[in-house]
């Protein structure tokens, strides 16, 4: 359970997040909104890259914002990035291992097995020894995903995980994302522009517009909400 209360972020005279109260109970949750709505800033607050002006984030009973940023991985927070950030100079396995061993991994043998499990989960078993620099865009996205789920984290933030991917790879990715809550045991928050991705993978969805929360609830209802359609979706047919 993630409870965000009165969250405000200020960049000079701009408020990318303006008094947001938001709760994510469990499962996979979407966070959508037009460009500049504050979605990535919201993730950056949770990751510790941006310090909010006011507000609090309680995550599974802990005050998340009081944890030193790099220690949040050990606490159980993982994320992917809008511009994919798989480490190009390492193999797929090493990419996953680095997240595990710096976030409270255990013995060498156990780390090894857990890293392999995460790589297999992400469907990269055949590429496990490949250098990430030699992989395609879709595979790199999966490397990031494997890195985000290794070691059973509690909260996984996915920032446009399917950006720039062809349809069939997106479909496979949706399938993977939907398996995270049950198989990894993590709460997932997914930021994306792709409505079909959000409606296919998220049980609940929250909508930000100019830093304010304008709707939240069951995904299907939110995507058909008049305010949401007007603010974000325009006249585009959602269904």
């Amino acid at each position: 359970m993630i409870e965000v209360t009165g969250l405000t972020v200020r960049f000079g005279g701009v408020l990318p997040i303006d008094g947001v109260d938001l709760t994510f109970a469990s499962g996979t949750n979407g966070l959508i909104g037009p460009n500049g709505a504050g979605k990535t800033t919201f993730f950056n607050v949770l990751s510790g890259f941006v310090r909010p002006e006011t507000g609090s984030v309680r995550a599974f009973g802990d005050d998340l914002l009081s944890i030193v940023p790099f220690r949040r991985a050990r606490w159980g927070l993982r994320r992917t990035f809008q511009t994919e950030q798989a480490i190009t100079h390492m193999t797929v396995y090493e990419n996953v291992l680095v997240a595990l061993e710096n976030s409270g991994g255990r013995g060498r043998r156990q780390n090894r097995q857990r890293a392999i499990d995460a790589v297999v989960f992400a469907g990269l078993a055949e590429q496990i020894n490949d250098r990430v620099g030699s992989l395609g865009a879709g595979e790199r996205r999966r490397v990031e995903l494997a890195r985000a789920v290794v070691g059973n984290p509690r909260l996984v933030l996915l920032d446009e995980p399917a950006a720039g991917l062809p349809d069939e790879e997106t479909a496979a990715l949706v399938h993977l994302i939907r398996r995270i809550p049950d198989e990894i045991g993590a709460l997932v928050i997914l930021v994306d522009h792709d409505m079909s991705l959000v409606s296919a993978s998220c049980e609940t969805t929250a909508v930000l517009d100019f830093g304010r929360l304008i709707a939240s609830g069951v995904t299907d209802e939110v995507l058909h909400d008049e305010h949401v359609i007007r603010a974000y979706l325009g006249t585009e047919d959602v269904a």
Binding site: S47, F70, A73, R74, Y93, V98, E101, E126, H175
Partner: protein, 365 residues
Amino acid sequence: MLDEEQAVHDENSGARETAAVDDTFATLRQIVTAAVFVLVVLFVLPAVLDYNTFWIRVATGAVIYSTVVLGLGLLYGRVGMVSLYQFILVAMGAWVALRLHFATSWPFPVILLLAGLITGIVGTLIGLPALRLSGLHLALITLMAAGGLTVILTRWQFPNGGGGFYGRAQVAGVASLLPRPSIALGDLAYYRYCIVVTVLLFLLVILHVRGKPGRAWAALRQSQSTAIATGVNTTLYRMWAFALASFATGVAGALLAAAAGGVSSTQFPVQNNITLLAVTLMGGVYSIWGAVVGAFLLRVFPALLDDWGIGTEWLTVLFGIGVIQVLLTAPGGLVEQVPKDLANLGRKIGGLFSRSSAPSPDAAE
């Protein structure tokens, strides 16, 4: 959709058995190559040089400086930090070693180790304020630190057995020379001694690069946010890299203090810190072998130019061209470029022959 999910699931359960990690420390080929190389420089090279004292001394310098290049390559290539005071840290290592020797007369290996540790600590402390900086700012700060340390060195001079903190006797002609260990008194023996110490330092660095620190550094090099998101303690690992590079550099300084002629404060001008970066880049920062090539460029190449009667002032020009060439066409340095070019050349020559005998569409590729 269901079929699709089933297909993906099947694929995964099949994959579970095939996922075999290749995380061996080094391949047999790498070990054999390294071992053969070390044996060649230990025993064959001196013979090739006809046991000529001058060239043995030049080679000793190259061996010693290879760890310095290795340290800078580690900082720049693995962690993404430009440090421009590594060269003056060599002087610091030499100074500490001489000071310790004249104060205590401890055995040579102990002096080496302590010189490395003290240089490691001081080098890291100086780098501490710079840890929040990166890129050009870090380069500038470290270059200024190098300037400051050079001023201190010029003022203090290297200890030569005198009293007081500076250990400096104001007598002309007394060299600041660290006595060699009894097993390596001659130039050839000391050359081999330096190789053994250097191999140990290389192993220490390789252990780091291939282990947990190396992976954390790779995350840091990718980006600060990647490192934090994967739980890497960015400050700790930056300091660690500085400490390791400075340690290796300090040991190199101590070795240099016992090399022929000892050390003098005029040997460490500030601009050499930039030359060091140039040869490090030219050698190649992503490979351990780059340090060997870089050290060759730094110590042997100038001696060769001199031997051929070409003025060493051409060195700056040649290094300038070399750096531009590497930055434009081979970010991995000569150590990556030369084998690739040789392979290409081989393929072209091979293609020429195969085309003349049996023209095939594949040969055109």
